[in-house]
């Protein structure tokens, strides 16, 4: 625990009373100081706290409340059904499909984007002609709006789209698929599009991490006779650990909540058959389109709990060291 004195130190130094003041004077000065500190805290945090409470905590409370009703969004909710909506969700094969699809996207993103991003980042960290251009190109898909990317790929992939034409002209017509229509293929198509879009983000994060790896260490290793591969394997990558873990965390949470891309790229029929549904699209399809508002809220709560638990577990087991460093400073 730090004492109030220590916190006051930087500002208090100049305005501290001269030596030998009365005890009472010092008390009141400290109280005034304390009060000012609280004013500051309240003044600076109130807007943020208010917004957080109004737009995050209160709605979450309402979602939990509404999820306990059989409510069609017409008139106020009156028919209390307890946890029935939750039971119904886990009995619906389409919701289970949505869960499976979310799992595919979470693990698919980590396993595919991770190695690609690491490889490209290590490559882009070396000096070569056109490096800046290359870095920019890699990052472009991430900057595009998700809806734009979704529609673009939809056009490229539907019917006799560009992708099929390209494959045929390369003599790989056998690879042509009903990319967005085949119920067994569509989730992998979507995963590929997501990878294309988000790998740039991973690369930029890792490049930032790489720039923090001190040259001294790699130079020292080089002088000791380590090859480029050995340096990457034993020096650079271990030092990239915190960055990789943060990226994994962000990627996981984003994948659990994924909505936009799926919504615009795959059509309603394919979603409703479970082939491309995610928890978020399932929530909107059932909450708004089937007009099951209570049920939709239950799905929202399930989505929240799954994301929350996943985040907590990740922090507890993988991010612990990184966060300790960030919050409490290096151990003495």
């Amino acid at each position: 625990m730090t004492s109030a004195n220590q916190i006051r130190m930087p500002a208090g130094g100049a305005s501290a009373p001269p030596a030998g003041p009365h005890k009472a004077g010092r008390e009141s000065a400290r109280r005034a100081d304390n009060r000012r500190k609280w004013y500051e805290i309240i003044g600076l945090t109130t807007p943020a706290v208010l917004i957080y409470v109004m737009f995050v905590l209160v709605p979450m409370g309402f979602a939990v409340y509404y999820s306990l009703f059989r409510w069609r969004g017409v008139g106020p909710p009156t028919e209390f059904v307890g946890l029935r909506n939750y039971t119904l969700a886990f009995q619906d094969p389409i919701f289970l499909d949505a869960l499976r699809n979310n799992a595919i996207i979470v693990f698919g993103s980590l396993l595919i984007q991770g190695p690609i991003a690491l490889g490209v980042a290590l490559l882009l960290n070396r000096r070569f002609r056109g490096r800046a251009v290359f870095r920019l190109l890699v990052f472009v898909p991430y900057v595009l709006a998700e809806v734009t990317v979704g529609i673009m790929w939809k056009l490229l992939l539907t019917g006799e789209g560009t992708v099929d034409a390209l494959l045929r002209s390369l003599g790989m017509g056998g690879l042509v698929q009903a990319w967005l229509a085949d119920l067994d293929v569509v989730i992998w198509t979507l995963l590929a599009i997501l990878t294309w879009k988000y790998v740039g983000f991973a690369i930029i994060l890792l490049l930032a991490g790489l720039s923090n790896v001190p040259d001294e260490l790699t130079e020292a290793a080089a002088i000791d006779g380590a090859s480029w591969w050995q340096i990457q394997r034993h020096v650079t990558i271990p030092l990239l650990g915190p960055t990789i873990r943060i990226w994994m965390f962000l990627s996981m949470i984003g994948s659990l909540q994924i909505f936009d891309m799926i919504w615009v790229t795959s059509v309603p029929a394919v979603r409703s058959l479970g082939a491309s549904a995610t928890m978020a699209t399932y929530m909107v399809d059932n909450g708004f389109f089937a007009r099951l508002w209570g049920y939709g809220n239950a799905v929202a709560v399930i989505l929240f709990v799954i994301s929350f638990v996943a985040a907590l577990l990740f922090q507890r087991f993988l991010l612990r060291r990184d966060i300790e460093g960030a919050i409490t400073g290096r151990a003495k």
């Binding site: 709605p59 309402f62 969004g73 008139g75 119904l88 229509a181 936009d260 795959s266 029929a269 409703s272």
Partner: protein
């Protein structure tokens, strides 16, 4: 991205709940008839003609004309895409204390719910003349004998087809039975065209095939009972699925139809018919306008486009002259000013209806406006509509969104090859209790 989306959903819910609370207080009594047009009022009007085109422009003109006739009335239009309007904007606005005064209404199960929640103005006494002039179509906007809205567009669905392709395939007359339709499909395949385009990706265009099978398989009594009581026990509903499955097995549709959108872009089922890639499409009367928006050659489209009613199934208990249909109408909110009803009456007056018919975006409902319909395809729909012995409202509208959505999903599963006729019925029953 996803987080932002969730935040806005949550925000919408919050606002809704705040507004629900606010909605409990408030509500002024409507001004008595004698005070009409005395005080200035502003009517907010939500309709679904959101795409730029003759429909949208026409509503702007209608609002302006009405304000010119009655200078105390100002009309604020908000044009919102159908899905958004029907699924999110309207339900949320109706929960609040400040819903739009006059808004799109489709009748059926949804309207029943809205009436039960006391959202809509009972206009039975004020619109007797108009209802008389519209005829039986107005019944769809009734709940328990009271009028809660009026239609401005109404039509039955049928098959839009390419006359040139039919001629090239040697089909002399439009099919009147499913046997003839099957023969036509075979002939069209032989000329290397796609016989029928279906926008199964949007679910409802595929589901409408099942609705028509049900219309043919079920007696009118069974259909009425299903709408009124949500009772789907009649075996004809399973038969509908079996007939559909048999029809799909003849492969009349384009490949990968499960991902084809229904309308609005050239790759949609609509676009395939409009641009000469497919010979037929099952669709409602609004299709004339939407085909125009996706074609590359309007003149050519007009020259080859034809329409015929959904063929009958020989030996089925369904009435062969019964048809599926639906329409668009408007309702006034419970607490909307009395001028709202006057505006509604104005919209369905023969003169305004004539103008609407001239836009070609749909078929008018008021008697006397039919003459303004010039398009031959639309004219044949008008004839078929007046000749129909019974018009069944679109089943998903009639049963309400919850049963409707579950039904459509289960039908799409049959199209995708992993559903069964029995599952459609069980899904409908399960949804009714959800």
């Amino acid at each position: 991205m996803a987080t932002k989306r969730r935040a806005s959903a949550v925000l919408a819910l919050l606002m809704t709940s705040v507004l629900v609370t606010a909605g409990c207080s408030g509500g002024e009594e409507a001004a008595p008839q004698s005070e009409l047009y005395k005080d200035p009022v502003t009517l907010s009007w939500w309709h679904n003609a959101s795409q730029d085109g003759p429909g949208k422009t026409y509503w702007e003109k209608v609002a302006k004309d009405f304000s010119a006739l009655h200078p105390t009335v100002k009309i604020e239009i908000e044009a919102i895409e159908t899905n958004q309007l029907q699924r999110t904007r309207l339900p949320a606005a109706l929960l609040s204390s400040d819903p739009p005064d006059i808004f799109q209404a489709w009748g059926g199960g949804e309207m029943t719910e809205q009436v039960e929640a006391d959202y809509l103005k009972d206009i039975t006494d004020q619109v007797k003349t108009e209802v008389g002039n519209i005829g039986s179509a107005a019944e769809i906007w009734q709940v328990k004998g009271k009028q809660y809205g009026l239609p401005f567009r109404m039509g039955i669905e049928g098959i839009w087809y390419n006359k040139d392709m039919f001629a090239a395939a040697g089909i002399s007359a439009p099919p009147t039975t499913f046997e003839e339709l099957n023969t036509a499909v075979t002939k069209l395949k032989a000329t290397n065209v796609i016989p029928i385009a279906v926008g199964a990706g949007d679910k409802w265009p595929a589901a409408h095939w099942w609705y028509n099978m049900a219309l043919r398989a079920c007696s009118v009594d069974a259909l009425k009972k299903a709408s009124a009581e949500k009772n789907f026990d009649d075996p004809c509903f399973v038969k509908a699925g079996q007939d559909l499955k048999a029809f799909i097995d003849t492969k009349p549709f384009q490949p990968n139809f499960i991902a084809t959108p229904g309308q609005n872009d050239p790759t949609s089922a609509n676009g395939m018919l409009a641009n000469g890639k497919a010979a037929m499409e099952l669709m409602g009367d609004w299709n004339r306008g939407t085909l125009d928006t996706v074609t590359t050659d309007k003149a050519k489209l007009a020259s080859f486009l034809g329409w015929f009613p959904v063929p009958a199934i020989a030996g089925s208990p369904g009435d062969p002259k019964a048809a599926l249909g639906g329409g668009d109408g408007f309702s006034c909110a419970k607490n909307a000013p009395a001028e709202c009803v006057e505006f509604l009456k104005y919209i369905v007056s023969p003169e305004v209806q004539k103008g609407y018919a001239e836009t070609g975006t749909g078929l008018p409902v008021a008697k006397g406006a039919a003459d303004a319909v010039k398009d031959p395809a639309l004219k044949s729909i008008l004839d078929a509509t007046s000749g129909a012995s019974y018009v069944q409202l679109w089943l998903d509208t009639a049963y309400g969104s919850t049963v409707g959505n579950a039904m459509n999903d289960a039908i799409v599963a049959i199209f995708a090859g992993n559903g069964t006729p029995e599952k459609v019925v069980s899904a409908m029953k399960a949804a009714a209790s959800k």
